[in-house]
């Protein structure tokens, strides 16, 4: 199993978390911990760059939803960028493509 690695950088519009590796039952809590530590301000946009994500199960999707809840509670927005094809298929299957703003590229929010 590949370790989940999360790197954080700040941009003018808000934080970008680059999430790579495998996000499953054992590793998804790490994203939740990292997101919970972010202090977002109203009007910011949290970008989750998922272009390096190789696997994501339902607990991974739960972590994405928890990140969304955390952002919305702070009055911030959230974007999923660079969503891999397989995850996009699952998100569409369960209707979450209507809930998340999805962006093919991974540049900071504009």
């Amino acid at each position: 199993m590949k370790t989940l690695t999360i790197s954080h950088r700040d941009t003018a519009t808000g934080p970008v978390l680059h999430v790579a590796g495998e996000m499953d039952y054992d590793q998804a809590p790490e994203l939740r911990r990292q997101v919970d530590r972010l202090s977002l301000t109203p009007g910011q946009c949290l970008v989750l760059d998922l272009s390096g994500l190789e696997f994501c199960d339902s607990t991974g999707i739960t972590a994405l939803l928890a990140a969304r809840q955390h952002a919305l509670a702070a009055g911030a927005g959230i974007v999923l960028a660079g969503v891999p094809a397989n995850l996009l298929r699952v998100l569409t299957l369960v209707g979450l493509d209507q809930v998340f703003t999805l962006r093919p590229d991974t540049s900071p929010a504009s």
Partner: protein
């Protein structure tokens, strides 16, 4: 065992319909996962549902329990499928997501009005983010009942819920399943999945088939996945007997 309280041991006999179920447990030590139920509601109708909660273990089991009892109560208040799922959505959202602990399920909820000798058997389904039901027709076709646009139940305060209606003729069978079936791995890669297209082809090969036959065949298919089947899988089939004199009671095939 707690798992026993999460799915019924057997289904009640439904006049004019044949039913069959199967529950495959991927990891006996882990509770939760999938759920289903079938029960009568007002007006000679029957409600049924099948779904899949996120997560594993005791948290998933408590979510499954809340989901089942909420749907049962909702169906007695208003058995319209979209209304029952909307109630479940509101309950799960209030209980979990709104408090920062998102938990959700996919679910398909249906109402069937057995027609018997008096008319057609009508099925109405509502889906929240759940794979499409498959219908095996008496003429040998197999078709999905797409419910696009439905969302995971419990994510948003007001969720879009997708509905669909079909008529079951004599010899038709409708099959509900969880994604353990379609997401079973059939190759070395994590993306080599069984998939909906293969399931439809499998259904076409079976049709026409009564619920008991369908569940037996799908159970064999699940067994053939071996280690590729790494998730709980629930199967529920309802059908109108091709010959109404052959109606059999519900059968439950243990895992």
């Amino acid at each position: 065992m707690l798992q026993r309280s999460l799915v019924p041991d057997s289904l009640p006999a439904v006049p004019g319909l044949e039913t069959a179920v199967h529950y495959h447990t991927a990891a006996p030590e882990q509770l939760g996962g999938d759920f289903y139920d079938l029960f009568p509601v007002a007006g000679d109708r029957w409600a049924f549902f099948l779904g899949d909660v996120c997560g594993k273990g005791p948290e998933a089991a408590s979510l499954t329990s809340l989901t089942r009892y909420t749907l049962r109560a909702a169906a007695h208040h208003d058995p319209e499928p979209a209304a029952a799922l909307a109630t479940l959505n509101a309950v799960l959202h209030e209980r979990y997501t709104a408090g920062g602990d998102p938990r959700y399920c996919t679910c398909v909820f249906g109402i069937v009005e057995p027609g018997g000798e008096h008319g057609p058997t009508i099925v109405r389904l509502a889906s929240g983010g759940h794979p499409s039901a498959l219908v095996l027709r008496s003429d040998g076709r197999a078709e999905f009942l797409p419910t696009p646009g439905g969302l995971l139940v419990g994510v948003l305060p007001d969720a879009p819920i997708s509905t669909v209606e079909t008529v079951l003729a004599a010899g038709d069978t409708i099959v509900l399943y969880t994604d353990g079936l379609t997401e079973a791995r059939t190759g070395p890669g994590r993306d080599d999945l069984y998939g909906e297209d293969a399931l439809r082809v499998f259904g076409t090969g079976l049709a026409p088939a009564a619920p008991g036959e369908v569940i037996t065949a799908l159970t064999g298919l699940l067994d053939s996945f071996g280690d590729g089947l790494n998730d709980d899988t629930a199967l529920l089939a309802l059908g109108v007997p091709a010959d109404s004199s052959l109606i059999r009671p519900a059968t439950s095939l243990p895992s």
